[in-house]
Symmetry: C2
Subunit: 365 residues, 2 copies
Amino acid sequence: MTPDLPTSVLDAPDLQTPCLVLDLDVVSGSIAEMQQAMDARGVALRPHAKTHKSVAVGRLQVAAGASGLTVGTLGEVEVLVDGGLTDLFLAYPLWADEGKARRLRAVADRCRLRVGVDSIEGAMRLGRAAEGSLEGVLVEVDSGGHRTGVPSDAVVQVARAADAAGLRVLGVFTHGGHGYDAPGASAGAADDEVRALTEASGALRLAGFDAPVRSAGSTPTAIGSARDGMTEERPGTYVYGDRQQVALGACRAERVGLVVVATVVSVTAGRFVLDSGAKTLTKDGKPWMAGYGWLPRYPEVVVRSLSDYHAVCDIGDGSAPALGERVVVVPNHVCPVVDLFDAMWVVEGGRLMGHWPIDARGRSA
Amino acid sequence: MTPDLPTSVLDAPDLQTPCLVLDLDVVSGSIAEMQQAMDARGVALRPHAKTHKSVAVGRLQVAAGASGLTVGTLGEVEVLVDGGLTDLFLAYPLWADEGKARRLRAVADRCRLRVGVDSIEGAMRLGRAAEGSLEGVLVEVDSGGHRTGVPSDAVVQVARAADAAGLRVLGVFTHGGHGYDAPGASAGAADDEVRALTEASGALRLAGFDAPVRSAGSTPTAIGSARDGMTEERPGTYVYGDRQQVALGACRAERVGLVVVATVVSVTAGRFVLDSGAKTLTKDGKPWMAGYGWLPRYPEVVVRSLSDYHAVCDIGDGSAPALGERVVVVPNHVCPVVDLFDAMWVVEGGRLMGHWPIDARGRSA
């Protein structure tokens, strides 16, 4: 089964293209499936909310059994707390300058908040800023993604700085982002997550820290690293799925639960143009995926190039949509797409049933 | 001179990074310079508002002498009309389905609106939808960008369909998007714009149409095609500039007037991470530009990879910013970046003087 929408939804006059449509049956199924997988492994699930930025979807995840949510920015913390979601992990090395320190204290008093640290200076600054308002911190370990995080053998010194700054050290976390490098990379990245967290956690224990959290996370590696003493997983994209996750084998095609609806606005020999340009689909992509999106009903089509409001599609050898036709487009990477829309249409039981705000859209700071 | 901000602005506690900062002196200068260039050539300037999506900036362009503004979506029309900017060209083959037809009629009654057409069916549908509320239409010609638009020799049949549908045909327009293909491509693309519009306009005249508008447009080609009977230019990005325009030679470095301010949140041997990820800088790029942005104070740095909230930067052979330091980043392509922020800080005379809304942000439909 490939992602699709009933004609009655696709052609609904309420939809103004380009727009986002969430299939609540699919998304609820994805939420339950990941929760069951983690429950079966005895690992806590703390989904990353940056994918959906939605209080309503976050509530579904918590209702299904998530221990809380993960976020990437202070703005996301503020929005989710306003929405009543108050057990949060800001998995990011927040630099607590004067303005952010003020915001951090204001919101931390209203929730149970963990924050990431990956430097001595960052930990010292966070300690001064937090004034005891945090539940604690997790030290970030670089497990091979080479983004943020310290090597396993540097975890203790960051933890000591945090401790000295009055922050309770709860454990260690990592993001095996190299699981996105290519199809097949996720198994190795999951192994790397387990190894790095085991080493880092062992070093903390030897240094006298009672800091049991070992938190790994990404959709491609979530199932693979939920073992051998890992205590928490933080996948985000699994909630909606996207073309990249399907290509990586991390998501079955029928688990794609958020799609773009676009209209064919122009047709020429060999190509057509959709109204879902770079300000809808984004230019996110991978060398191992051709173009900027996937049209499930027209699988031979390649979305060759994007400008702001145009997606130029090569027809290829298959069939093509007609001028004026609305089509479903699965984005390459759903997370930045969500950040371009204020709201999404919601389908349940095959019928349009709502228009939900994307509450934390644009809250990158 | 390279784009920069005074330390007092860069380090202002009001700025929560990542954020956008507009230098009003620079932007006013760019607006005046392009207007003077067009005035000197006797060509009307109708800047594309999709770059700034700001009523305030649009007003500056009109106050400087712009004949009106260009937009790409019906949502942009609605926002600008609400802001009192009422001479607009929707340079896009709008597909007037039931919902958009309703919105089009509602807004067209409140402004002087031209719309693009590039198909017989689209023109017929637009005519039925508009019910006489439009100033008229322009037929889009493909001058070599191969996006939307018809070949010059097909213009007459589209114009006849529009005329039969009750739409006044005002002229022809094109976008020489192939001027973005590589540095050096813009001169040829400007020639192509002039040739295509001249041919198409001649064909319309021979067919009996009194349709004098010959409208070309893009920042790289604007100056080059403002000649030989072209009546209008529609550059957009010139108002802010960006790394791509500088690399193309279409914008001097000191004319970059909108920048991202980001904070260094993590430092490791050989690399550092900024908080301006893909949800700020976007993954827009070109094969002939390395990475995802330009740090004017650290020109050796390559913004190697982006995830949602992380920009991973390779230090290279030069100097690098310190942990916690705020830096100016010039985006590769400013238009989609603007769509990710609700507002921008405004600097005038070297001082923070305002926080302006990005009024039409997210109005892609």
